[in-house]
Symmetry: C2
Subunit: 219 residues, 2 copies
DNA sequence: GTCATCATGTAAGCCGTTACATGATTGC
DNA sequence: GCAATCATGTAACGGCTTACATGATGAC
């Protein structure tokens, strides 16, 4: 669950651990703060597995697209301005890479990310949120499948809920209110999901032709 | 977080582990299934700490109220019927207490539960849900404080959210949708909380006189 | 008599945390 | 030069999960 977040962020741009942590915190679905104590070991593990690698000095993706002006001084100023404008994002490059380790994703890492995005065995809420956050890396059909699997899961939960009545018959007002809130939250989530699905279907014109998605059929 | 759930349920009625697990699963805020691997050790730990104790044969609260008929056979039949009628709730007594361990809460356990209900240091979502589930054990002022602390926490989260813009300026539709859903969920939660607070205030007539709740003032 | 369910537990391990230790860079 | 922040790591531990081991009871 952690790995997916790291790989997903590194797929967008190279980052060092400290900055990575901040962005991890901004991702819905991750606990608000991610600790270094888990981040660094995770990075080390991923590096060892060849899924990410330490890159030396590259300011990553947003670098190009500025046409050469011919003036060296102007060039430098433009570079600085670009850094400033991008804010914290690429600040790491400003200090050289002495004490830092800037990580980038590898091809193997991208394959692994894809695996994590589509794995049907993991169905917890946080993972789903992360998957949505990075699902632009999926094909339209895969995305649809992701959404629909989630939909099935939510419906299962909604219908599975036995209301916690107690043996002595007394009703607990607060507990009931809590359950109602929970039900409402699931309903809202389902509505949101449905809107996602509708939008996605509009993108994939003729569903049913793809091998990945089989609408309806299965239990 | 686990302890609170166990103590709260045992405060309602005596239960053995297996049945406890089912009810744990019905509680919002707990993962849908709680594993025995954590439940039994937790129970053992709580027992060792004197917060719960194994009770021998009592079918707990709903037991009595059946007058003696004088006939031994009739007695037995009535007993059986009672068991059947009460459903899963007290079924445990039906097998005698040979292989089973029925637990009940102790006075120390109730004090501990109260501690867990009011502890201001724990602010995670699941714990809050559990607290609401069992907050009938709190006084009105304590309940109000619980709700208002949660409210503060949710507002903090809502305002703290930096939107995860990326260095390259591209916007990720899915991520944005996800963040919006998240914001909406927090808003809905806040609305629910506010309704709880309003109801609670109606119960506690003159707020402001109590030492526990100070509305507004603090940052 | 055997199978499903009820029931209790142990062992290994994963995933993540807090607390600790260390050092570089920048601003004042 | 000193403090705050940036930055990277290690160690110990906690909570919860899965998988495993065991056995009683009731239904058929």
């Amino acid at each position: 669950m952690f790995d997916l977040a790291i790989l997903g962020l590194l797929d967008e741009t190279d980052l060092h651990g400290y900055e990575l942590r901040k962005r991890l915190g901004d991702l819905p679905g991750m606990g608000l703060a991610v600790s270094f104590g888990s981040l660094y070991p995770a990075l080390a593990r991923l590096e060892k597995a060849g899924l990410v690698k330490a890159v030396t000095n590259r300011p990553a993706s947003p670098a190009p697209a500025a046409p050469m002006s011919g003036s060296l001084v102007g060039e430098l100023a433009a570079f600085r301005a670009q850094l400033r404008q991008a804010g914290n994002a690429v600040r790491e490059a400003g200090r050289g890479s002495r004490g830092k380790k800037v990580y980038g994703i590898t091809d193997a890492g991208r394959r692994r990310m894809h695996e994590l995005l589509v794995d049907p065995d993991v169905t917890d809420d946080r993972t789903f949120a992360l998957r949505v956050a990075f699902c632009r890396n999926l094909g339209p059909a895969e995305r649809l499948e992701l959404f629909e699997r989630r939909r099935t899961e939510l419906i299962r939960r909604r219908d599975l809920r036995r209301n916690p009545t107690r043996a002595d018959g007394r009703v607990n007002t607060y507990l009931r209110s809590l359950v109602e809130r929970d039900t409402a939250a699931i309903a809202a989530d389902l509505a949101w999901l449905d809107s996602l699905i509708v939008e996605e279907r509009a993108t994939v014109p003729a569903a049913g032709s793809g091998a990945d998605t089989q609408p309806g059929g299965n239990p």
